[in-house]
Symmetry: C2
Subunit: 379 residues, 2 copies
């Protein structure tokens, strides 16, 4: 007997309703039956995105949706701002470079959020900048950026504000329209509680104007073609039928709970996790605003971080994430996002305590769980 | 009560083993557990592809894999042959045009196969041609092309032979290595008996050389990056975990049956369907070699083809496909591919007879089913 507890920042655990939907017989995608599904999914996504604009469902991972943002908005030779404060911010730079887009890179120390004032300064210095590529939650560092403040800085310029909300959408607040986000990309395997395989992308009126002028080559990710199809409740190419049907199930759950309650649940879990880490004597990696979807924690001195994560997973079935790229072995990350609730967090902290104790780390056993319980008890 | 029978050329029905696998709790993709899955799936695909070369699993539909073929092999300004004998052949031309590739289009009358001699003539006339884009089974017309003969014509030239085997792989014979196919693309929702959402692409040694010289911009579909990841049993971006786990199930079934038996089953179902159409007095659309995965049939005079397909679907739950693009209303298409066997074909023919009779078409009721039974009885 071996029971698994998934506490990773994507994929997140699947609700039973989603598992059940995935197991259903397949339906054909060029039917009124699937059109009803596509309509329901698209409308539901607009609720989660907090937008009245267009939202498209792509047959790709989140990175495909990021590429769609770049190739639809820009042309080779254009200039865009990218913000490198973690692995996923760097991905924007990489995609831009692949398509011949010049990047004005804002280097941010890993663990810190970008300063909106710095974006403002760069935009003023170079009025040719066509897009600002940002990250809502930098999953690699556990830092959340202040998209609302960035939106205020970008909205009156020529540039489009593009947000990678792959980690975070449906889990923490992101007001696409009210915060002036022109393009928001996301994926299915995080706050939306589905397996990976769907990319999402929203497009504002300002973004559509940029799209009209884009000369980047594209076919599979061409949003103008996607728009024509969606206007007829259709998709340009075969959609990931099963995942879209499952999406309707998770959207139903999200609507039933309500976004505000969901954001509150995530905040509570993040608070509890952070309190627990402090009680165990561990330091957060995020030195500015820590995100409410994943907590990155510094591996204490004398502890082999990779071995710790591996033992939790292979011996006890509690799956958290290690560090990525330059943070490998230096941090571990506990997700509190999607279909995860307070007692899952208790399990994660308890297992962490067990393995740390076994590895000889000195702390008061039970202190982490107690600190988390105190946060949860306050309600 | 309403029971559905899916007889469409993608998606095809799902085996219960696949449905069960789709419903399982999700696992994380950066784990030894998923690495074992990825290895098993990749090895199984090589069996189905009949190749010892590389095969990659992409998080995309089949069209994404087609785009991957174009952007990895070629550079803007290159010239390639495309063959337009149906909607999917035309897609190669469209993708090439999107990336600034010049196309030497071989126009083939819809319903006919391309003549390998014509490809040979074009290759000789223009030695700069870098790729020949072909289609194994043109799903829109029900025609199968002679890829083995085309392979002989292309192999000693500079050009890469690229095959769209989205419809057909795992259902009819395609010998990637023995037929000198350099790049073969496919998708999950046809012969491989899965929901849509995975693209597959094989790469020969000859193709890798072309890939080295490609200057088309790319990121998400970059096969050199995919190769580096796969060498470490990994994927560059989040894979469609659930579908890859389900793929292992369908590959197990395919290996258990054996490719030769599977090809025989498809041939038998196609023969039976064609015999049934003839017995009902209907003509096939394919005027050369009709494919063994889907049969396209001309709608008889006086019958509203779209209404016929709609009635079969909405009144009786038997879902076949209508005509696409210029064939809309002029043909209907019955798939006999994937998890479909003889008695499913009997159901399809019986329902077709019922609706044709109701619509006033004159024929001997039961003649189609009888003709099919005769073919199946011969074994």
């Amino acid at each position: 007997m071996r029971k698994n507890y998934l506490l990773t920042p994507g994929p997140t655990p699947l609700p039973p309703q989603v598992c059940e939907a995935m197991a259903r017989p397949i339906i054909h995608h060029r039917t009124p039956q699937f059109q009803a599904v596509l309509k329901e999914a698209t409308e539901g996504l607009k609720y989660v995105y907090q937008t009245k604009g267009d939202v498209f469902i792509l047959a790709s991972s989140g990175t495909g949706a990021m590429e769609a943002a770049v190739v639809n908005l820009l042309s080779g030779g254009d200039t865009a701002i990218t913000i490198q404060g973690g692995k996923f911010g760097e991905r924007w730079t990489e995609i831009c470079k692949s398509y011949g887009i010049n990047t004005e890179i804002i280097d941010v120390e890993w663990g810190k959020a970008v300063l909106p004032g710095e974006i403002e300064r760069r935009l003023k210095a170079n009025p040719k900048i066509k897009a600002v590529f940002t990250t809502l939650c930098e999953t690699s560092t556990g830092v959340v950026n202040d998209i609302a403040a960035i939106g205020k800085v970008v909205k009156d310029t020529f540039a489009a504000l593009v947000v990678d909300a792959i980690s975070g959408l449906g889990a923490i607040d992101l007001q696409t329209d009210a915060w002036f986000c022109d393009v928001v990309v996301s994926g299915s395997q995080k706050g939306l509680m589905l397996p990976p395989g769907l990319g999402f992308i929203s497009v504002s009126q300002k973004a559509w104007k940029l799209i009209e002028g884009s000369r980047c080559p594209k076919y599979y990710f061409d949003l103008k073609v996607a728009k024509k199809a969606l206007d007829k409740t259709d998709t340009p190419f075969t959609p990931v039928i099963t995942l879209i049907i499952a999406l309707c199930e998770s959207l139903k759950m999200i609507k039933q709970d309500g976004l505000d309650n969901i954001f509150l649940r995530h905040k509570k879990m993040a608070d509890a996790t952070r309190a627990a880490m402090k009680a165990i004597g561990l330091d957060l990696f995020a030195s500015t605003v820590a995100s409410d979807v994943v907590t990155a924690v510094k591996v204490p001195q004398g502890i082999d971080g990779e071995k710790m994560v591996k033992t939790m997973r292979d011996t006890y079935g509690v799956i958290i994430a290690g560090g990525q790229a330059e943070l490998k072995g230096k941090v571990f990350r506990i997700a509190h996002m999607g279909f995860i609730e307070e007692f899952d967090i208790i399990v994660g902290i308890s297992c962490l305590e067990k393995v740390l104790a076994q590895m000889g780390y000195k702390f008061k056993l039970g202190a982490g769980v107690k600190a988390a319980e105190e946060v949860f008890l306050k309600g």
